[in-house]
């Protein structure tokens, strides 16, 4: 059969990061002209594998064979120009102010007498777009296009570069349902042109609709490659998870107290539409949903990082106005943000200053920071949270991800928060440190603190939460108790079914 012709194969790929084996002897084959889906939990190794294929990172060992050339990794420009491997990420590599045609031919514009031949360029761009059956004016600036069309420009760029292997990482995340249909039709046309497509998605339904084969990753290993028509959603979920929840999530005594936070009919310009929920003292309230469901936006709205356009927030029964994170901190709300490096740690400052950053008043006397009080507060937290740092003076950016996360948790404990919002608290953190973060979150809850836990890690969500609220496109689509929550139910609510 024609489709059995192998285009790219990876052999025994190993990639190690400090504390994590990101890829453990992965073998993969991709056939010419197939749509090959890759699924797995966050941290399973999908992205690392893709980065190796596109040359963004180099494997520690193993090799890749393409066009009967065997290589131990390559540079990004080689991947694209010599081997025809292109990737479409969630963040597009387009220059907003330039036109579609200018973006397509950036760096190798057709020339006449040393000047760019604009007419020819627009004509060629039109042809490329037509070959994809897309009706777009190539003279339009990219910034005027909807996200879905920007994505199409990216795809057109890849086909212009004669891509043989096109990697798509969660391509439907930013799209509306109608746009998804357009994208799928386009992907199928590319397949018909003989292009191999690697399709990464959390949405299992898409995998079944689109792919010929599917590979499951778990904990840095390739678990299985199956013909999509021979498998089922249940089997994939089983392969992705395959772990008893009780093993990883410490049991704790539940004592859920009175309500502390009430969010009533809140909407924002960012995404939220009429969101309402309750949070109690001592409760861990999980928020499930797909990327872009509005969970981060919800946390930011409660925290005052984004402005609320309608609705209200009550704390201990009193209406409060949270217009800036400072209001939230004063009301004893803390946020452990998703992007630790960009939104969490103050990277140039020391561990001790990061720990007291939101409560310098507590370690100050007469308006001056007292060095020994600052030191004491830090030493206490380092011990309590078992933060691995040689001293309190160390710059926080030099700690590992897990320890940086603990520093931020320490910051909110130091400022004595009653409500802590955790946004993907264990993303990018190695297994051992994850476990400790879970223990700390449980400990906080049993002390009566109210916890919001946003997580895309299904087991984490199911294992940690007392109650789960699921969101889809900015609205709450359901609420599940710990007893009734299953992966399947959460996924269904998350995809808006």
């Amino acid at each position: 059969m024609d489709e059995q012709k192998i285009l790219v194969s990876a052999r025994q790929i190993v990639k190690r990061y400090p504390g994590v084996l990101a890829l453990d002897k992965v073998d993969m084959d991709f056939y010419s002209g197939e749509i090959h889906a890759i699924c797995g939990e966050n941290g399973a190794g999908k992205s690392t594998f893709i980065k190796i294929l596109t040359g963004a990172i180099q494997p520690d060992s193993g090799c890749i064979e393409i066009d009967s050339v065997v290589r131990n990794g390559f540079e990004p420009h080689e991947a694209m120009n010599d081997f025809g491997i292109s990737a479409i990420y969630q963040e597009f590599n387009l220059i907003p102010a330039l036109s579609i045609a200018e973006n397509l031919f950036l760096g190798n514009e057709p020339r006449k007498n040393g000047l760019i031949d604009v007419n020819k360029m627009n004509k060629m761009a039109k042809e490329i777009l037509q070959s994809l059956e897309v009706d777009l004016d190539p003279k339009l600036p990219v910034e005027n296009l909807a996200v879905a069309y920007q994505q199409i420009v990216e795809i057109a760029k890849a086909t212009y570069h004669k891509a043989k292997l096109l990697i798509m990482d969660e391509p439907t995340a930013p799209l509306t349902i109608h746009e998804v249909d357009t994208l799928f039709a386009l992907v199928k046309r590319l397949k018909a042109q003989g292009i191999t497509i690697i399709y990464i998605s959390h949405r299992l339904l898409e995998i079944f609709e689109l792919s010929d084969r599917v590979t499951v990753f778990r904990d840095g290993k390739k678990i299985a490659t199956l013909k999509t028509s021979d498998t089922s959603k249940d089997e994939l979920i089983h392969l992705m998870v395959n772990r008893k929840l009780e093993e990883t999530y410490p049991e704790r005594s539940h004592f859920i107290g009175e309500k502390i936070l009430e969010v009533l009919h809140v909407s924002t310009a960012t995404r939220l539409k009429d969101v309402s929920f309750l949070l109690h003292k001592g409760e861990i309230l999980g928020f499930g949903g797909l990327v872009g469901a509005g969970r981060t936006e919800l946390a930011r709205a409660v925290y005052g990082a984004d402005q609320i356009t309608a609705g209200q927030i009550l704390i201990n029964g009193h209406k409060v106005s949270i217009r800036h994170p400072q209001n939230a901190v004063t009301l004893k709300i803390g946020l452990v943000p998703e992007d630790r490096k960009l939104h969490g740690i103050i990277s140039e400052l020391s561990v001790k200053e990061n720990i007291s950053f939101s409560s310098f008043n507590k370690v100050s006397k007469l308006g001056l920071i007292n060095v020994s009080l600052l030191e004491q507060a830090a030493t206490y937290m380092i011990k309590l949270l078992r933060i691995a740092t040689p001293n309190t003076q160390k710059k926080v950016k030099e700690l590992s991800g897990g320890n940086q996360q603990k520093v931020i948790i320490g910051r909110w404990l130091t400022s004595d928060c009653d409500i802590i919002l955790f946004d993907e608290p264990t993303r990018g953190i190695d297994v051992g440190a994850k476990q400790e973060i879970y223990e700390h979150i449980n400990e906080l809850a049993s002390q009566g603190k109210a916890i919001i836990l946003i997580s895309s890690d299904m087991q984490e969500l199911l294992g940690m939460s007392d109650r789960i609220i699921v969101m889809h496109e900015g609205v709450i689509t359901g609420e599940l108790t710990k007893e009734e929550a299953t992966q399947d139910k959460v996924l269904r609510l998350a995809s808006g079914e």
Binding site: P325, H343, I345, I346, E348, E353, L368, I369, V371
Partner: protein, 314 residues
């Protein structure tokens, strides 16, 4: 680890440059290494130093204040007018002048931190307008007839030490305490490293940013008063390209133009390097045109050092 090392290299390199320069001028001139000349240098750099403490705050937030030279001019004219035409006693006149300087900083800060206009543009605009205003206020003519007692501020001594030098050292000491031991000071450092993280830690970042510009305006006002006292006339052209000298000194002192890192002690070293350089060149009878060339090269050297150190970090 590596980041620390490159920071240290930068720190010691600057101190090394200071020692090398001082050593060089001590050898090639007879008059450099004398107590009176060293006092002279200190007095000459005092205004630069005082303003540099403010500029340090601003650059740490990853901002820039180009208006300091014009603030100096406006302070010169307003201070002189208040003491002569308005007939105000020295002290209230000085206080009002300092308030005006701080208000310029406030305007800069609000436009930059609250409205969000780029710092370079805002302070370039105030730099241009205030220079114009200085000329308008005095109709382009110098203002004479300042009270004699006012000379003490810029020309007096306390024991053997010139008063401006004492003021500069006090400003540096307070600057050190402010930047290292107050929460606002630490927020200023945080702001340059990562503004959004600071905001999400519950800090009013716009307020902190504005404070940095107010400090810069206020301290430049203080430097401007000392200048007025030294030359004893209100001159609208005073402080031309002063901002460049201040920025050079701060960057030479190891404060990163990206913000977030640098120390006030380094800035003191940077201030003295610029002072020694111009003093030594004067002693060597190097023409002012060549001095300009040297100053430019020194600035380039300082920024290159900063850039290379940052490249190594990444």
């Amino acid at each position: 680890m590596r980041a620390n090392k490159s920071n240290n290299i930068k720190k010691y390199a600057i101190l090394g440059v200071l020692i090398l320069l001082a050593g060089f001028f001590s050898i090639v001139t007879d008059s450099f290494l004398t107590a009176s000349n060293l006092m002279n240098i200190s007095r000459q750099v005092s205004m630069l130093g005082i303003s540099a403490v403010g500029m340090t705050c601003v650059i740490l937030t990853s901002g820039i204040d180009l208006s300091v030279g014009s603030v100096m001019a406006i302070v010169n004219i307003i201070g002189a007018k208040l003491m002569t035409e308005a007939g105000l006693p020295i002290f209230p006149a000085a206080v009002i002048t300092l308030i005006v300087a701080a208000i310029v900083g406030l305007i800069n800060g609000v436009m930059i931190s609250y409205v969000g206009v780029p710092a370079f543009i805002v302070t370039l605009a105030t730099m241009i307008s205030l220079r114009g205003l200085a000329y308008v206020l005095c109709a382009g003519m110098p203002i004479w007839g300042l009270p004699d007692a006012f000379r003490t501020l810029g020309q007096g001594y306390l024991g053997p030490i010139p008063i401006p030098v004492i003021i500069m050292l006090i400003v540096f000491a307070i600057g050190w305490v402010f930047l290292n031991r107050t929460k606002t000071g630490r927020y200023i450092y945080g702001l340059g490293g990562n503004k959004e993280a600071v905001r999400l830690a519950g800090i009013r970042t716009a307020r902190v940013g504005t404070i940095a510009y107010i400090i810069s305006g206020f301290l430049t006002g203080l430097a401007g008063l000392i200048m007025l006292s030294r030359i004893n006339t209100g001159q609208p052209k005073i402080g031309t390209s002063f901002e460049m000298d201040v920025i050079t000194a701060v960057v030479l002192g190891g404060v990163s133009m990206r913000g977030g890192s640098g120390s006030i002690l380094g800035v003191l070293v940077g201030v003295f390097i610029t002072g020694i350089l111009s003093n030594g060149m004067i002693l060597l009878n190097i023409s002012e045109y060549y001095q300009q060339i040297a100053k430019g090269l020194v600035l380039l050297f300082a920024v290159t050092l900063d850039t290379v150190a940052n490249l190594r970090k990444n």
